[in-house]
Amino acid sequence: MSNKYVGKEVPQADSWLKVTGTLKYAFDTFFPGTLYAKLVTSKYPHAKIKNIDVSEALKVKGVIKVATGKDFPYRLGLYLSDRDVLAVDKVRWIGHPVAAVIADSLEAAEEGAEKVKVDYEPLEPVLTVERALEKDAPLIHEKLGEYRVFPGFHPIPGTNIANLFELKHGDVEKAFQEDDVVIIEETYRLPQISHVTMETQNVLAWWRFDDYVELWTSIQSPFATRFLMADAIGLPVNRIIVHAPPAGGGFGLKAGLGWEPLVALLSKLVGRKPVKLVLSRAEQMTSAPVRDGFIAKVKAGFKRDGRFVAYQADFYLDAGAYADYTINVARTAGYSADGAYDVPNVHVKSYAVYTNKIPTTAMRGFGHPENHWALELTLDRAASVLGIDPVEIRRRNLLKPGESVRATGERVREDEGDPQKVLSVLAQALEPDHVDRPSEPWKVRAKGIALLVKAPSQPPNAGSSAVVKLNEDGTIDVLTGNGSMGQGTPTSLAVIVAEEFGIPLEKVKINQLEMVSTDTNPYTWQTVGSRGLFSDGIALLRAIEDAKNQIKDTASRVFKVPVSDVEVSDGYAFSKSHPWIRKEIKEFAMGYTYPDGTTVGSPVIGRGSYAPVLNTFLDASGHGSNTVFHTYGGTGVELEIDLLTGEVKVLRAIQVYDIGKAIDPLLVKGQMDGGFIMGLGSALYEELKFGEDGRVINPNLINYYVPHFEDMTASMESYMIETPQKDGPLGARGVGEHVMVGVAPAIANAILRATGVKINQLPITAEKLWKAIKEQKPELIEKAQKLFFEEGIKEVQQV
């Protein structure tokens, strides 16, 4: 049977609202009479709050109230409740919100915020992971032992270690001792980076007079937000109504719990009037969480033939002042440290460490940009030392579906994808051994690759549900709980419904494109980890089946045939044995009504739900079964390096992913191309820079550069491999997060291969690369200079 919609290029269903700018985001939500909130933030990285004087602020015309931490004695968090609503007793980073001013105009709120006076008693700040781990380091969270911790996590009270995860598989020490083992040892680092969602975090909250709390907020996961907030401030879950309009970018920033408790409590404090908080870009990059900083100390053993036999890695994630979500990033980086490879001996320790810097949270890739930066660079280092081709060393070590066992003890499923095919498609497209001449004699051309594998990191019970409602005219309304942030999942879900019922796509309305509300939409755990299409997709297929069964039941009575003889497709219910007995599904939408008014059946509403089967928490050795699907992928780049200046220009990009089934290739390609751009930013440009006192010194989009239009590569190729996932919706797997993971390592590997220069830390700015070449291969620069300053001139004179 040929598909009508699945596999076809279908634009996002809300495209026309987007091109006209009329899609309403939380940022655009406003009611007459709404009050404005403004944050007052800490000027010290670590200090006791001695006194807060709000008297001058309250004199500003229009200021209504000023709230401080003491007003809201609640602890917030998803995996670890280490966050306060506003700073209580002490501040933990420069930018830590200390107070909030509420006023009847933005101007008054801003003026009031300037006039709040806070007296501090400075404490010794802890600004590096190294210092944080010293025995005599000041404690950033003295009460770490009292925080609520999610199962499977292990904070170490009395230290600055928010979590330690350990993974043991085989015996690395023994393997390193073996005769013909070549050892690679490196320390790799990644800086903190910002998600830079174009829509900054913003919340409109109204604590209603009936003690229900309504929120309009720019988030990914309305149900997680609702539960975590209810849990933190002691309200029944359904007293909180979270409305999640489409988000102007999520990328992990807007998962879990954000500013909702603060703004809701502010609303209550000012006599239950609606209050809105919008973060400016500077506030977003100083007071709200970013991606962790990362250090990996790695020791890897390879046999002479390239077999990867032992991997020992210590990961340190600089979590900043709050590690709430980052403890799971650290755990995930840890348990998936062996990537796409079959390594018999693995020992990983992954620490999430507090420092007095901007807090951190989930970001696209969730631990995988981190651990693959270490792993994929190490593979190319080994390839170079052993004299083996980078493609070949990977080919020899890739996991074998149906055979291999991961370091967690989880068997690699037969149907989980084809890593060898990913590698060969990538190699064929890139032709890594064929390198063109550079455009100038003082430049070099280079090609590099990186592979990756990733599964959603989620609790064992991360469930999804879906509802399908058949309307009077045969149109269908679909409800799931998945947030919409441009990832395309809602459109793909609509495509599945159209395909399964055989009705035109235009007849399917997917309500989450405009709003997901916790009081109308069915539950899904979170919109994270590339789990949406998979988990919600399975729930949706079950809801479709349920709705079809209801139609079949009524139809069998109307057709006077057994239920087993009724089929629903092409918009009809029909008898399989007597296909001419058929009626449009709309005839059954509200039950079937005979001409005399007699009605059989009732309104059709299908429900379906899904939860992972037999997943567990990981045990003390990091063993267990905690994934539902893996997606393999690879990135290849061709680039040119100017040896005189260190500038890198990526000319060509290749993305390859085994996504099981491309339900909507237009949107999948959008993810692959866009993820490459985001990966490119993290590889070449992006880094939050810190002053000596730990403050972020580049919280804007000039000094923190994200890729612009002119950064697009001249060539961008995306390949979709479709090895079906048996339990995936129509065979599909997720891919939204994977697409940025391989970019930075592919670039670093290209540089290594072409110049022999090792870069262990991102971003690869022109100056950093120039300095690295100068230190490691000065002869390359000397030769380039000779060509440029002398021989290059001859060409000019010939003009």
Partner: protein, 288 residues
């Protein structure tokens, strides 16, 4: 410099949009010290959003026609200070005769902002990374500065007196830029940025060649641009270009003392200065 903007609104001020230059100068005198001139307004609006400055009066000069003119005579080219970066790039007078300035204008913020940014505003900011000044200095440009008391004319090289500081008095404004050449210039403007075009320059180089006059200006590496001419570069017109370039790059390398900051180190800036200077010189001689 904090470079943050936690504020969405501007502090309060009174706005004027005079149509005549004398009215603008009169307002500047009347509110001396409390007023700011606004042309493109990019830096002004950002500094106000950052609450770094609180002008009580803002005098918008975009309505003054005489500040928006570009004219050419035998003695040179005159450019009004409120001419925008886009107008510079689109002006045939500038494109044909002052290629370095046209190219520098293409780097003044992103393309959208270039509709707003003005040449006078760009150089009045006084920051090292401004693009207009190296180009104007390489062409020995003069700046006409007016106040209600009268006017003075200074070489562009004397505008900036320190990091972000200019020699403009509170009641003065640049009204016109005078380039003392009207044709026959070979010139270019090159810029290395730590990322892409909208980011801050690591090094910017402008070069000019007119007959036997040569100048190279290096901006963005120190509070004030470095100026070299054929004399300080010990240029030998009879010698080969190759020999001259090698020599010039060494002289530049040993004479610039670049700053180190969050954008780049001194060492790197020095190296890139040499590379860009040679690139620029190759370009002006290559096209000769």
């Amino acid at each position: 410099m904090s470079f943050t903007t936690p504020y969405f609104t501007l502090p309060k001020f009174t706005y004027f949009k005079p149509k005549k230059l004398e009215d603008a100068l009169s307002l500047l005198r009347q509110y001396k010290g409390k007023a700011k001139v606004m042309a493109g307004g990019i830096m002004l609006v950002n500094l106000m959003k950052e609450r770094q400055i609180f002008p009580e009066y803002v005098i918008d000069i975009k309505g003054i026609d005489e500040l928006k003119k570009i004219s050419k005579t035998e003695n040179g080219i005159k450019i009004g200070s409120a001419v925008t970066a886009i107008e510079l790039q689109n002006s045939l007078i500038v494109r044909d005769n002052l290629p370095a300035l046209a190219k520098a204008a293409s780097y003044m913020g992103d393309r959208t902002l270039q509709h707003t940014v003005t040449i006078g505003g760009n150089i009045s900011v006084g920051m090292p990374s401004t693009d207009g000044l190296p180009a104007l200095m390489s062409m020995d440009s003069l700046l006409r500065i007016k106040s209600q008391d009268g006017e003075r004319t200074i070489p562009a090289s004397e505008l900036v007196i320190g990091l972000g500081r200019t020699s403009l008095k509170d009641d003065e404004m640049i009204t016109e830029i005078i380039v003392p050449y009207s044709s026959g210039l070979k010139g270019t403007y090159l810029k290395l940025i730590n990322a892409s075009e909208v980011a801050i320059a690591t090094v910017a180089v402008s070069a000019l060649l007119k007959e036997r006059k040569l100048s190279v200006v290096i901006g963005a590496i120190a509070p004030r641009p470095y100026y070299f001419d054929h004399k300080s570069l010990q240029w030998k017109w009879e010698a080969s270009l190759s020999e001259n370039l090698k020599n010039a790059s060494e002289i530049i390398g040993s004479n610039v003392k670049p700053m180190s900051d969050a954008v780049a180190s001194s060492e790197y800036r020095k190296e890139v200065s040499k590379v860009l200077a040679v690139r620029a010189l190759k370009e002006v001689f290559g096209g000769a």
